[in-house]
Structures are given as C-alpha cells and as structure tokens.
Symmetry: C2
Subunit: 319 residues, 2 copies
DNA sequence: ACAGATATGCTCACCATGAGTATAAGCCAT
DNA sequence: ATGGCTTATACTCATGGTGAGCATATCTGT
C-alpha cells in the first residue's frame, strides 16, 4: 500500500499524502424483465445508469438506495445486493474531475411504470447485442467480433494467449459459450478497442463500435450486474423477483431465458422447478397463451428458509 | 446489524447537505492454512485486520493491496478478490471520528514467515470457535449458544421467528449445519448481545462473550471473508492457492476440511479431485506421512481455463 | 372437424454422488 | 522378523439427478 508497509497498521490518518477529497457515489443496476426482454433502468436517454452521491443523510447504503429506487419505480424492491466497488485511480466525476469511488448495487424488480420521467427502461441487449443467444449465436460474433479479435490478437502481446482468451470468452474454435462471462467479454472488447468507450482513449479501430455506449464505465458496471444475475439465477431463487405474483411455468422459463440469453429445455425445466418445490399452484389458469390454458403458480416463499438446508458440493462424512 | 442511528456522536458538521469528508479505507482478510489450522493475518495483537488508507497514489485498489501484502508475507499473492464495501452511516474512524467507508478484500496465500513484526497469523477459529465442526459440533453450541439464543428469542420481537432464525443458523432442532452461514451466525450472536463487540452498545447479557473480539467491525469482515472462502471452495479451485506447489491428496483434504470446518469423506474426495482432473502427479512420493508413502501432486494450472467450459445448472437445449 | 399452438406427463439411459469395503505399503515396538 | 498401527489407494454398489426425447391433453382459429 505504501513504501514501508507499516502505514496499514494505522487507521487512515492525517499524515503523509494530503487527502484529496474523494467522491463516493452509488450506482444502481436495476433490472426487470418484460415480454421476454430483460431491461435495465437508465437515465440520460439510455446513456447512464442511475446514480447519486453517497451523502451523510443516508442511514446506510442499502436503505438509501432502496428508498431512492422505490421512489423511482413506485414499486417495492424485492432484491438488492451489493455488486462491486469501482475505484481505479483514473475514475473521475465528469462534472468536477474529483476522484470517484463508485459503489454499485444490483436490484431486481418487476417492470413498472416509472414515476420520474427522466428514467427509462432499456433492453440490456442493446448494450450487449452479442450476449443474446436465444436465437443461436448472433451473426455479429462470426461476422464482426471474431475477425476483429483475430486481428487484435496478432497485433501485440502474445498472439497465442490472446487468441485463446478470445476463444474462451466468445466460445470460438469449438469451445462452448459460457453465458456468465459477460464481464470478461466486455473487457476483452474494450482492450481490443472495439467498443466506443475504449476509443475515447485508443485510436480508432476498423468497423463500427459494438453495442450502444454509455458514459464513463457504466457499461462495464452493467456487464458486472448481468454476469451476477446470470450466475445467481442458477443456485438462488432470485428469478422470482422478476416475476409477477402469479405466472405460468412458460413465463418463468421465458424469464430465465431472457436473463441467461439461452434457450432452456422445456420438460426438464419444469421438472427442475417442480421437484425443487420452488412454486405452488394458485388454482387458477391462464387462457390467453395461444394454446391449452396453463396453470398459474406462485413462488413458495417458504423456500427461502428451506434453502438454508440445501446444497453441499463437498463429499462429507456423515456425522 | 447496527440497531440505532447514532447521529449524535457525529462531529458537528457544517449543516445539512455539506459534504463531510469521507475516509476510504482498505481492509484485507488474508488467509492461509498451516497444519490443519486456517489462519488469518492480524495486527495489534490479533485485535485488528490489516488496513490502510486509500490514498491518491494508488493506481488501483487491487494492485496496491497486492503489493502491500506481498511485502508483508514475502510471497506472491495467488488470489485476491473484493469482498464487500462496508458503509453503514455510523462507521467511524476511531482516531478522528470521520465517516469511514471500508472496502474489504479477500486474499489467499501460503503461510510464510512475516517480514513485518507487527503482523501475526492467528487461527481464525479463535474468533469463531463455533465454526469448527471437524470434531463434531462444538460443545459450546449446545452448552452456551443454544440456551442463550433461546432466552434471547423469548425476550422480544416475534419469538417463533427468532427461534427459527437461530435454528437455521446454528443447525438446531434437527436442522442441518450449513458451514456457509458464517456471517448470519455472527450477526445473530451480535444481535443477541452474546459477543463482546455488541456489548459496547447493548447492556451486558449473561455469560462470557463468545470468541476473541476485534476492534470495530473487523470480526464481521472476517466472518464475511470466511463465508466467501467456504462458498468459493466448492465451485472454484481456489484451495490450491493455500497449498504448497506439491502436496499429497490427504494434505489437500485436510486443507479443505480446515477451511470448511467439516470432515470430508476420503475415498469420495479423492475420486472427485481425480475425475475433475484438478491435479497431476509429480512423480515424487512423500514418506513421512506415518503410513504408506503418498504420491504428491501439483495443481494443473491448465484447469483454470478449461474451467471456462464447466458448470451449467440450467437445463439447456442443445444448439 | 382439423390444423396449429401450448400444456403437461412420462420414459430411458447415463453419470455423479453417497456410503462402505478391501488391499497395499510404509513405520515402530517387541 | 514379526505383528500391529497408520496411511495410501483401489473398487463396489445403490441411488438420484440430468440430458434427451416422445406422447398425450386442451385450448384457438379456420
């Protein structure tokens, strides 16, 4: 941390480097799903994530953010977790150039009409078109991304390392696509100068930049959030935060598919949900599905604590 | 966790919105394992985690912390990840009462002689004696914790809710013990006033406080770190960061047991490690094991990228 | 009535996992 | 050297979760 290694023994003190004021800002990745499209709440015409200063008036980060989001959406927030704290030394508040630390949060909710006019839901695949594989791998990957990454790989560093990184991230050369590597993919494209945010620093590369840009590193934060939801959805029943109180199993499946960007095997998905007893029937059916009416279900809230019991991956001996 | 707002003891700030300076501090949970005992690096006689101010000179949090830790341990740091950012409104720097935000990191390394004399490794179960179940559930749980939590449950709030919380956290009433609930257990004991840190605020409860205390909320941060390692060890080959370059399978097993605080089924553990091809034989054997000499293994670094391929939990359709 | 769509139920093979047993190869005390 | 102790290593067997696919039910619209 410092030259001697002893500085850390003391709590941050007055000595040494004059402390430049540090701005602490909160950034929210607020996600919802509507009609098979995953959405993120944005401001400034879709170019920024909602953010605010971490002022003294907030009792805690969490509750302050929750209150703010609930004012914005007019809907109580189901799920809120801390995402990551971004604090690279070159992060600056655009307005005054102060050093900025951004503490980001991930929030899940149902889509609701927005109370404030500045904010708007945007499909998150506008920002990451290469992340939606529900209709197969997007043509853009083979047509634009792979060739440009190949050119980047040969242009510096260790080409074989770069090629492998690209192949792992994007599932090239017969490797499987891993939907969780959202951040790695974004950072790779950034490094390769293929997205607009990177070109502010690097010289222009060929071709058009990929996906819709955002200010600062907001898109990177969004990538972090998407990666987190995609990972969490697998071992934690957070999907239900995105669902209305009653829903059909296909709606639930479509929601999972929207988030993960992948297609799910219908019979096995139903079996999984049912055998894990995540839901219970409401007794109602929903008729306007285009086919046979579907039973509707609700989330079994009791699962949350039962889940306590679940899930070892270590081969234990019985006590 | 923090029951009451203590806006009172805030130094008289310029009124209202005026931004009070916020101290940003880094805290490290640096873990190692030696001789079947998991260790954490501490300072101040084991009463604090190493911490330091986040100054302007640092390129980024991560690299600054890495450099500092490597000077302390004289060993390159294998693994470093951000843990959590603590920023409740009543967190204060002890010396000057400034508002403090602490960004905590988890680092894994092999135990090494320390370069600096102020720092020392401590067994982490000194701070959380109830977390070590390798010799069965600690007697302390049934003898002290359960009865005191039972008394607490009846003393306020909704007793049935409190009882269930306690039972889930500590595996009471026939519920299974979940080794990952380190933080929930600590926070429960804190709320119940059974640990020293809580008694600074609450009135004294009966009996002795549980486990060795730390300053501020360092023990809570340590709990967060332990929970993270215990979770991560299951789906990510981070254990190897705690191991020497060559090791026997039993040593590896003991390391996992030390971290998780649980006993592992030996044949199945070996099968798991081998079939996942996490390791490869070195060709050497180790004789001083007290029995038949054991083959030694090394971690297959190639796994890290192969792991890219691994692990879906969603029932996908084939593309 | 029939086509088309979705809902729902069921089968079957395979493999990871939990649990336990058996044999091999060192060391040490007698 | 021998027998007993300790650890290493290999195998078995039942069970249950998972991947993949098929079959039947019940709507709407023509």
């Amino acid at each position: 941390m410092d030259a001697t290694g002893r500085e850390m023994d003391r709590p941050a003190a007055a000595d040494g480097v004059a402390t430049q004021p540090i701005e602490v800002e909160l950034i929210a990745v607020l996600a919802a799903v509507a009609d098979g499209s995953p959405l993120v709440m944005t401001i400034e015409g879709g170019r920024a994530l909602p953010s605010g200063s971490f002022g003294v008036e907030h009792r805690s980060l969490q509750s302050g953010l929750r209150a703010w989001v609930e004012r914005q959406t007019g809907h109580t927030l189901g799920y809120l977790e801390q995402l990551y704290t971004f604090a690279d030394s070159d992060r600056r508040i655009p307005s005054n150039g102060a050093r900025a630390i951004s503490i980001s949060y991930l929030a899940l909710t149902r889509e609701e009409r927005l109370a404030a006019s500045q904010a708007a839901w945007r499909p998150w695949y506008e920002y990451f078109p290469w992340e939606d594989h529900r209709a197969g791998p997007p043509a853009q990957i083979a047509a634009e991304i792979a060739p440009q990454l190949a050119r980047w790989a040969e242009s510096g560093g260790d080409p074989s390392v770069r090629r492998r990184r690209a192949a792992i991230a994007f599932g090239l050369d017969g490797r499987p696509w891993n939907e969780e590597f959202v951040l790695q993919r974004y950072e790779l494209l950034y490094e390769a100068g293929l997205i607009a945010e990177a070109r502010r620093r690097l010289g222009d590369a060929d071709g058009l930049p990929l996906g819709a840009p955002m200010i600062g590193d907001h898109r990177r934060i969004l990538a972090t959030g998407i990666a987190r939801v995609r990972a969490k959805i697998k071992y934690n029943p957070v999907v239900f935060e995105l669902m209305p109180p009653a829903f059909t199993l296909l709606q639930l499946q479509r929601c999972v598919e929207a988030v993960s960007g992948l297609n799910v095997h219908k019979p096995n998905f139903r079996r999984l949900i049912e055998q894990q007893q995540l839901v219970e029937e409401t007794g109602e059916t929903m008729a306007d599905t285009g086919g046979r009416p579907a039973k509707t279900y609700r989330f079994r809230a009791a699962v949350r604590e039962e889940r306590a019991a679940a899930g070892t991956k270590l081969p234990l001996t019985r006590a």
